[in-house]
């Protein structure tokens, strides 16, 4: 084999290698080394019979439709598995981490807000604490929740944006519905008002979740309930906002971790067992 021929052959082999890399990851993981070995064996045998060029053309002609077919199949598979049924279930570490990180995010947001507050108020007079606190909570919880969730719900990059947007919803709510009157005593009004606010905060996240898990509305429900529960602070009349915020952080973290358990573990398991029993 002369030098030119050797170069051509190595070029062809590299081309085949790069074609093989076009297979979807799931297929590659299963068959890459096998298929590569089979092609090499085939080309080696064809070389001995002088049919190397024919074998190359034949293999490439076989690879192209196969790659398209596998890509198409993978699209369908990904669509199916977007709704998780028997995916990896989170362990206790996830729930512990979830509660801790969510609570920490709210407390961190509190201190960051107070640190930033003087800088902002210097420029714009009358900035309220909540105007800064809520967006910062949204950003921090979004990032921390995403870090935990991505293992169980892949391709959830929009989660951070959805959480951030969600925490801006109370401002939208106040802007549009500031004159809505909820009847009852002040505590009832606060609880109901907080529940409604909590529900609106959870809406952008629900929008993402509904494509990925079944019964995603549980997320909104638990969010609303948690916010409503925090509204009970009115019964104790706390002197300071920080204990309320602390309670809020813990209640919300626990409520959303229960929602996570329902959506990622309990409901998929239930779905799976009912499917198995019906077969």
């Amino acid at each position: 084999m002369d030098n030119f021929e050797w170069h051509i052959r190595s070029l062809v082999l590299r081309f085949i290698e790069s074609l093989l890399k076009l297979y979807p990851p799931r297929f590659r993981h299963e068959f890459y080394s096998e298929i590569q070995k089979v092609i090499l064996c085939r080309l080696r045998d064809a070389e001995q019979t002088g049919q190397w060029p024919c074998a190359v053309v034949h293999e490439i002609a076989g690879l192209v439709p196969s790659i398209i077919q596998e890509r198409w199949h993978d699209l369908g598979f990904r669509k199916e598995t977007m709704m998780i049924i028997a995916n990896e279930k989170p362990g206790w570490f996830f729930y512990l981490g979830w509660v801790a990180l969510n609570a920490i995010a709210v407390i961190m947001a509190w201190y960051i807000t107070w640190a930033i507050m003087p800088l902002v108020t210097e420029r714009g007079e009358g900035t309220r604490l909540l105007d800064l606190l809520f967006p910062i909570i949204g950003l921090l919880t979004g990032i921390l929740q995403y870090i935990l969730l991505r293992r169980y719900l892949p391709h959830m990059g929009w989660w951070i944006a959805a959480t951030f947007l969600g925490w801006l919803m109370p401002f939208v709510w106040f802007f549009i519905f500031s004159r809505v009157v909820i009847p009852g005593s002040s505590t009832v009004r606060i609880v109901l008002g907080m529940s409604v606010l909590g529900t609106t905060v959870a809406l952008p996240q629900w929008w993402l979740l509904r494509k990925r898990v079944q019964h995603a509305w549980w997320w909104v429900l638990f969010f609303g309930l948690a916010w409503g529960m925090v509204g009970l602070y009115d019964l104790w009349n706390p002197p300071d906002l920080f204990p309320v915020l602390l309670g809020f952080a813990v209640v919300l973290a626990i409520a959303t971790s229960i929602a996570c358990w329902l959506l990622l573990d309990r409901l998929p398991n239930h779905e799976l067992s009912s499917r198995t029993s019906s077969q």
Binding site: F27, E30, F31, S33, E34, I35, K37, V38, I39, C41, R42, H58, E59, A61, G62, L63, V64, P65, S66, I67, Q69, E70, H73
Partner: protein, 112 residues
């Protein structure tokens, strides 16, 4: 799905099942066997073979085994064998083809 629902088979699927009907084989073993059986008429490309094998594995027609006697060459390879469902499908398809051949012969004999 019942075995009947998968019929009729494509030629590629039929030859792969036929190749695996006797003994488990490696990917390249299947290619060579199919080429030999069809006297060179059907030469499976690796891509075609593995797409078919993936589908058959997913549908439960075949099973994948670790090679018990791996050598330097077959270290990366797996053996494929027919599952019960695959064998059932293969037998049904064979019966279907047989009945078609019988029918064709009868009809042609009637005309002659």
């Amino acid at each position: 799905m019942e075995a009947q629902d998968y019929l009729p088979l494509t030629e590629t699927s039929f030859f792969i099942l036929l190749s695996l009907a006797t003994t488990p084989k490696h990917g390249y073993g299947i290619i060579k066997d199919v080429e030999l059986m069809s006297t060179g008429r059907v030469v499976l490309a690796a891509g075609t073979l593995y797409t078919a094998l993936r589908r058959m594995l997913e549908d439960g027609w075949i099973e994948r085994l670790e090679d018990e006697n791996p050598n330097q060459e077959s270290r990366e390879r797996k053996l494929y064998m027919l599952s019960d469902l695959g064998r059932q499908i293969f037998q049904l398809e064979t019966k279907r083809l047989q009945s078609m051949v019988r029918l064709t012969r009868t009809r042609l004999n009637e005309r002659q």
